[in-house]
């Protein structure tokens, strides 16, 4: 639908896989940081006077 790839991630992580959780969280954060701010589907904030 035109959402940039890399902005949606899925992963199975069990409650005991803390290291995996940390790793996936890192990976997702880095992937999203690399993409930079979202360019699509931005809604202009309503301007309040």
């Amino acid at each position: 639908m035109g959402l940039e790839p890399g902005r949606l991630h899925f992963s199975w992580i069990s409650s005991a896989e803390s290291t995996k959780f940390a790793r996936v969280a890192q990976e997702v954060t880095e992937a999203v940081k690399a993409l930079g701010p979202n360019r699509h589907f931005l809604k202009e904030k309503a301007k309040v006077a």
């Binding site: 639908m1 035109g2 959402l3 940039e4 790839p5 991630h9 899925f10 992963s11 199975w12 996936v24 699509h40 589907f41 931005l42 809604k43």
Partner: protein, 316 residues
């Protein structure tokens, strides 16, 4: 077509006479060409109002939602699949419905025809040799019927009714050599920027009239998500994000349920081709779960059930 009409009238009359149904839903001639209207017949003597031709595209399952009385309904392939979905989703009791099954020879697209001629059309006739003759103020034009079909009918692979109590004719051959997803694959192959541009263009005309939703036999929620205010899932304005949210979410709500009857596109006053959304999901359901909507009253759509072997390749 004449035989279909005669047979439908005959069946409807008999069902009403025998008291098997309280009413029959079918089509009657509209006041304008190519504008047949759904109609409800309650008395045997009114059965002769019923007709059948290439302008009976409206999905009559839409008129069955929540029916409590005995209803006879004229149904082509897609209508019958929506009736099945209705039965699965408790919108209809199988015992309350008599399906008058029409092996469908595809519907013609009034917009294609109107666009191909200049001037007001006064009469459209379909000939037995597969031609469509269009007459209007000072012109007459003949088309190959195959060229005037609705987009969804051209690629239809289930023309015969899935459930049928009163067959109108012998089944027609199904199309086996059509590619239902050529355009979907093209969109899949686009880059995200191209795809965004594609959808920007596609939704540019949307006026949020919700005709697509209202025409869809699957959209029967008492309160649609777009009308909810707590929480407000979708803004009410013409913001492009809200328009997209509406269309994408509506398509997702139809995932695994849509029969590609084409009601949404037919209803759209500005000609948005939103079937690419529902067909993308249809394609995924077929490829991932081997599922086609409305083919059996015993099975719920794949997204309504969990199986341990559901594909999960997208999960890392």
């Amino acid at each position: 077509m004449r035989e279909y009409t005669d047979k439908i009238r005959q069946i409807a009359r008999r069902l009403l006479e025998e008291g098997k149904v309280d009413r029959v839903i079918g089509f009657k001639k509209g006041s304008m060409p190519m504008m047949n209207e759904p109609c409800v017949i309650r008395r045997p003597q009114d059965a002769d109002q019923l007709i059948w031709d290439g302008n009976c595209g409206i999905n009559l399952a839409n008129y069955l939602t929540g029916a409590k009385d005995k209803v006879g309904v004229v149904a082509k392939g897609c209508d019958s699949r929506n009736i099945v979905t209705h039965i699965i989703e408790n919108k209809l009791d199988r015992d309350n419905v008599v399906v008058i099954g029409v092996p469908c020879q595809a519907m013609i697209d009034k917009r294609k025809i109107a666009a191909a001629v200049d001037g007001e059309i006064s009469e459209v006739t379909e000939t037995d040799d597969g031609k469509v003759v269009v007459r209007g103020n000072g012109f007459e034009k003949t088309f190959d019927r195959a060229e005037t079909l609705q987009d969804n009918c051209a690629i239809c692979v289930h023309r015969n009714p899935v459930i049928c109590d009163e067959p109108v004719a012998d089944p027609v051959p199904e199309q086996t050599d059509v590619d239902r997803y050529a355009d979907i694959r093209a969109i899949d192959a686009m880059s995200d920027a191209e795809r965004k541009a594609f959808f920007d263009d596609m939704f540019a005309e949307c006026i949020r009239c919700y005709a697509c939703r209202n025409a869809c036999p699957l959209c029967y929620c008492p309160t649609c998500f777009v009308d909810e205010s707590r929480p407000q899932w979708v803004g009410k304005g013409q913001d492009e994000n809200d328009i997209r949210t509406f269309h994408f979410l509506r398509a997702y709500h139809c995932a695994g349920r849509c029969t590609d009857c084409g009601a949404c596109e037919r209803a759209c006053p500005v000609g948005i081709k939103m079937r690419v959304l529902t067909r993308k999901l249809e394609k995924d359901c077929k490829e991932l779960y081997g599922w086609e909507a409305g083919m059996s009253v015993d099975q719920r759509p794949p997204l309504d059930a969990y199986k341990p072997n559901d594909p999960d390749a997208f999960i890392k």
